[in-house]
């Protein structure tokens, strides 16, 4: 199949007024082969929208996550994905076997047992965040006052940030992930955080505690620089993604209150919203055929997570929010060796957030008409810029 410029679609197809995932995805799935999209930075990328093929891309050793390979997609004009050469420990940008030692060093901290043991700590954080929101009156921006705070406080607790420093830590991470921050503000926040984390690593190397940084530093597999890169990666990866999931889930559950206490709700929300739709960037390092399409070495590939999660051949009536279905098999956290390390922590945070929020503020409602909500049509992650609520 040959592709001409006339066949190119824009990379991010979201737009105000249209549903998410973009309605175009259904058409892409029905077409033979893959779809070629134009990146805002120039260049093109193959879009993959069918569930089976998204999983095939994410498990194929001929397809790489390493941005140092020629042809790796650069979604924006200025920002490219960092490589492990730029930031030691940035393991999401490494392929096996280089990737393995980092994942191996971290997985004991993310086992099901370990994450379950964090429930009381997450409950305390969520309660405290709700307390602070309630003190301010009877209105709030849920994104700012709740959804962004919870993951920040959870990750700081996990990394072993002392309680006394958590306000500082939360303030800086919020600047990093808030879209309205200027580049200058973001650079400064990132510099402050990195300096803080490096100091924390030095302290924990001498006086280790029962936290992730202490364990990684004691482990002797990783250098302090790598521990610092990993800490920043965990901080960024687990932050806005979780926040968007929490906020969008609150909007959905306010309309579908019968599902608030159902244990299947979180899984269906993850599938339904698929906030990290365009996050997994890849490049072919050999010629490879995907869904009948020849992708040549050096061509970029973006497996669209929301496309896969709304593929009707995998999930019946995919555009319907229905926790009674089995959402098992969704790829909201990716697939293959890079599948989100923190996924079980995210599930815990979402579960606790909804339970506590609706239990403690039963009169919670969105304070503006739903059509006025500010969605992130232009962000890498889908979500809400703000969520005005009242009670």
């Amino acid at each position: 199949m040959t592709t001409t410029d006339a066949d190119l679609v824009p990379f991010l197809l979201r737009r105000p007024g249209a549903s998410f995932p973009p309605p175009e995805y259904a058409g892409f799935r029905d077409r033979p082969g893959l779809v070629k999209a134009a990146l805002p930075s120039g260049g093109t990328v193959w879009l993959v929208t069918r569930h089976e093929e998204v999983r095939a891309v994410l498990t194929d050793p001929r397809i790489s996550s390493n941005p140092t390979h020629e042809g790796f997609p650069r979604p924006s004009r200025t920002v490219g994905a960092p490589s492990a050469d730029d930031v030691p420990g940035w393991f999401v940008s490494l392929d096996p076997p280089d990737h393995n030692k980092y994942r191996k060093a971290l997985i004991p901290e993310f086992t099901v047992r370990r994450i379950r043991s964090l429930r009381p700590a997450v409950e305390e954080i969520v309660d405290r965040t709700i307390d602070q929101m309630l003190v301010k009156g009877n209105t709030a921006d849920l994104v700012e006052d709740f959804s962004l705070s919870v993951p920040s406080l959870v990750i700081s607790s996990l990394l072993g940030v002392p309680k006394i420093d958590r306000d500082f830590f939360e303030e800086k991470t919020k600047v990093l992930v808030t879209l309205t921050s200027t580049d200058e503000e973001r650079d400064k926040a990132s510099e402050h955080l990195l300096r803080y984390i490096n100091r924390l690593i030095a302290i924990k190397a001498k006086r280790p505690g029962d936290d992730l940084i202490s364990k990684l530093v004691q482990g002797e597999i990783l250098t302090q620089q790598e521990v610092s890169g990993i800490s920043m990666l965990l901080l960024i990866a687990g932050h806005e993604t979780t926040a968007n999931n929490i906020s969008l889930g609150v909007v959905t559950l306010l309309q579908e209150k019968q599902w608030i206490d159902d244990e299947r709700t979180v899984e269906e929300l993850l599938r339904y919203h698929s906030v990290a739709d365009v996050v997994a960037l890849r490049v072919a390092i050999e010629d490879v055929e995907i869904g009948g399409q020849l992708v040549r070495k050096g061509e970029g590939i973006v497996p669209l997570v929301a496309g896969a999660n709304h593929d009707p051949s995998m999930f019946e009536r995919p555009h319907q929010f229905d926790p009674a279905r089995s959402a098992t098999g969704h790829v909201a956290f990716g697939y293959g060796v890079h599948q989100c390390l923190g996924q079980n922590l995210v599930r815990l945070e979402m579960d606790v957030a909804y339970h506590k929020l609706f239990q403690r503020i039963p009169t919670l409602e969105v304070a503006v008409p739903l059509e006025e909500l500010q969605f992130k049509y232009d962000g890498v992650l889908f979500g809400l810029h703000a969520l005005p609520v009242r009670w």
């Binding site: 994410l58 191996k104 086992t111 047992r113 060796v337 599948q339």
Partner: protein, 64 residues
């Protein structure tokens, strides 16, 4: 009855098998998969097949 085998060399510790079939799979101290019941039957075998389907590292094989 099903026969379970796992390739621990492929395992990335995502623990999706433990969530899907807790009676069949567990994680060791390093976070890697261990098999609690290598020949499950009935519902446990069905859950094990689900685990095979969702394992991101394709490290689980269920025969029969």
């Amino acid at each position: 009855m099903a026969q379970i085998s796992v390739d621990t060399g492929k395992c990335i510790g995502s623990a999706q098998c433990v969530l899907a079939a807790p009676e069949v799979f567990d994680q060791d101290d390093d976070g890697f998969v261990t098999v609690l019941d290598a020949s499950p039957s009935g519902e446990a075998a069905a859950s094990a097949r689900t685990a095979q389907g969702i394992c991101p590292a394709q490290a689980i094989s269920v025969q029969g």
